[in-house]
């Protein structure tokens, strides 16, 4: 075997690519992992600014196996598959979170019964219908590769629950994983409902690096070759087989099998004229802006004890690519410090996320990009404070408590993920089993429809297992 020939080339060192490469390396495959960016993690990456560390994606690790949800969490499964001790993640469970709509809020913790109780209290007349919905969700084969792609909005309407409750259930599930506008496909809804409410939210004490660092170390020990700053220019095919991987540098790489984690649309782009299928995936357009403020003190000094708040300004939930730069009508607030409520700290982060329009941000000149960022940073913070308890805040005094601010836009997300339009959750077209028109090319990651950090990792593992390792 020559130096530029591999058993498997994995495109993209995000969580699905890292997981797939780890599995393949564990069982003796000669693997090359290619990453366009200079850091690993993809959407779930990190950066440093003014001496502080920031996570890009991680608001929450879902599927927390709490004392209530037991051992069935897929998070335990993936630790086992990757042979990472679960304890090494050092997970801190959430305090509590809430879904906040005008005049109505639903609180949830890592105890599902508490959430069900909240629904009973707030939507008493809908409670029977809600329980029937829960039964329907339990019997729905959401995790099967053949799960039917129903509209969740339609299912919720037909269930007979209060329309406001339906909007409130769509809010967190869309934010944590929908590539569609104002809806989410039902299998993904069921998976996210389980991941967020039945299991729960937690965060590694050291952020996303608690997952990325052990994976990178393991890959090194397994002899998996990893090349950073290395973009794929083209995949060349012959008779529905990929024959050559051409890098931006001009170098040619050969592989028996290829796992592409860069997205279904993005994979089509690197196939260029070789793209031989008549089916074109839909290009997603949902992206976000996130504004982060580092604030002096502890969140509880300001009366803030929630971990995540999903909010919306009216009875109808808004989840779509806005026409303007940012849609302030709905969003997500995260206080990562409240994964360890009441622990000591001298400063904490307040992260506020809103839907945003990629084309608008992309179209700005360097100078106006910076000034728009500055402008929206203020608006986002002022708007976000309306959804937090602001009774203890003296507005004039509060700005002095802000130590550092940073904002990332859809352009930043594109830089980390290479997703067209800076999409958070890829294309609305999903291929769950990862197979493509090409017999030796498989897709893993977001466009498999398994969502979030846990979903991405399980997706990468599943493709490595089912498409490559099982076949021998």
């Amino acid at each position: 075997m020559s130096g530029n020939h591999y058993d498997v080339v994995v495109i993209g060192a995000g969580l699905s690519g890292l997981s797939a490469a780890t599995r393949l390396g564990m069982f003796g495959k000669k693997v090359l992992l290619l990453e366009k960016h200079y850091v690993v993690g993809g959407l779930n990456s990190f950066y440093a600014k003014k001496g502080r560390k920031f996570d890009v994606g991680l608001h929450a690790l879902t599927n927390f196996p709490s004392e209530h949800s037991g051992k069935k969490s897929p998070l335990l499964k993936l630790c086992r598959q990757l042979r990472i001790p679960f304890e090494s993640l050092d997970l801190q469970p959430q305090s509590h979170s809430k879904i906040l709509f005008p005049d109505r809020s639903l609180h949830f913790t890592n105890n599902f019964d508490y959430f069900v109780d909240q629904i009973q209290q707030n939507f008493a007349t809908s409670f029977n219908a809600f329980q029937h919905l829960l039964q329907k969700m339990e019997s729905f084969p959401a995790y099967s590769v053949n799960a039917e792609e129903l509209s969740t909005r339609t299912v919720l309407q037909e269930s007979g629950i209060d329309p406001l409750l339906a909007e409130m259930l769509l809010c967190p599930t869309c934010y944590y994983g929908s590539a569609q506008s104002n809806d989410i496909d039902f299998p993904t809804f069921v998976m996210l409902f389980d991941a967020i409410f039945r299991q729960g939210l937690a965060r590694p004490r050291n952020g996303i690096r608690a997952i990325l660092d052990p994976l990178c170390k393991k890959l090194k020990e397994l002899g998996v070759e990893r090349r950073m700053n290395t973009a794929v220019k083209r995949l060349h095919s012959k008779n529905n087989k990929i024959e050559e991987i051409e890098l931006e540098s001009g170098e040619s790489i050969f592989a028996d099998q290829i796992i592409s984690t860069c997205g279904v649309v993005e994979t089509e782009l690197i196939l260029g004229n070789d793209y031989a299928s008549n089916e074109h995936p839909e290009v997603g357009d949902f992206s976000v802006i996130e504004s982060i403020s580092v604030i002096e003190g502890k969140p509880t000094d300001y009366g803030w004890d929630e971990t995540v708040i999903f909010f919306n300004d009216s009875e109808k939930f808004h989840y779509q690519c806005p026409e303007d730069y940012v849609d302030l009508r709905s969003g997500v607030i995260c206080l990562p410090q409240n994964y360890q409520l009441n622990s000591d700290c001298s400063e904490f982060k307040l992260r506020i996320t809103h839907p945003a329009n990629f084309s608008k941000w992309e179209g700005l000149t360097e100078k106006s990009y910076l000034s728009e960022k500055e402008h929206f940073q203020d608006k986002i913070l002022q708007n976000g404070l309306e959804y937090l308890d602001n009774s203890k805040i003296n507005k004039n005094f509060f700005t002095q408590k802000i130590l550092v601010r940073d904002t990332f836009t859809p352009k930043t997300i594109k830089r980390f993920t290479s997703h067209e339009n800076g999409t958070l959750y890829g294309s609305p077209t999903k291929t769950r089993d990862g197979s493509t028109f090409y017999q030796n090319l498989f897709l893993a990651g977001t466009d498999q429809g398994y969502i979030g950090i846990v979903g991405a990792m399980l997706g990468g593992i599943a493709i490595a297992n089912n498409q490559i390792l099982r076949a021998g």
Partner: protein, 86 residues
């Protein structure tokens, strides 16, 4: 190679892939799935480790032969003997 040794080999593999499982009281005649928290992904790993550590191939259609320690021993013994003779 003996059946007892093969059972120990399989137990050692399970200890490696599922370190959180308690393996001291595994009953050889009872299905592994019924006494341990193992799923199809874990069985794939048992198969992959048999190949990696001992050069033993288990075709996918025959994974069910690995359902208990006794069935593992019966099914794998000729394979281990063939591997040793080769």
């Amino acid at each position: 190679m003996t059946k007892e040794k093969i059972k120990q080999i399989v137990l050692d593999i399970i200890a490696e892939i599922a370190p959180d499982e308690e393996l001291t009281d595994v009953k050889p005649e009872v299905r592994l799935r019924d006494q341990l928290d193992l799923d199809s992904m874990d069985f794939l790993d048992i198969v992959m480790e048999l190949r990696k550590q001992h050069g033993i191939d288990v075709p996918e259609a025959e994974y069910r032969e690995l359902e208990s320690l006794d069935s593992c021993a019966n099914y794998l013994l000729p394979k281990f003997e063939a591997a040793a003779a080769a």
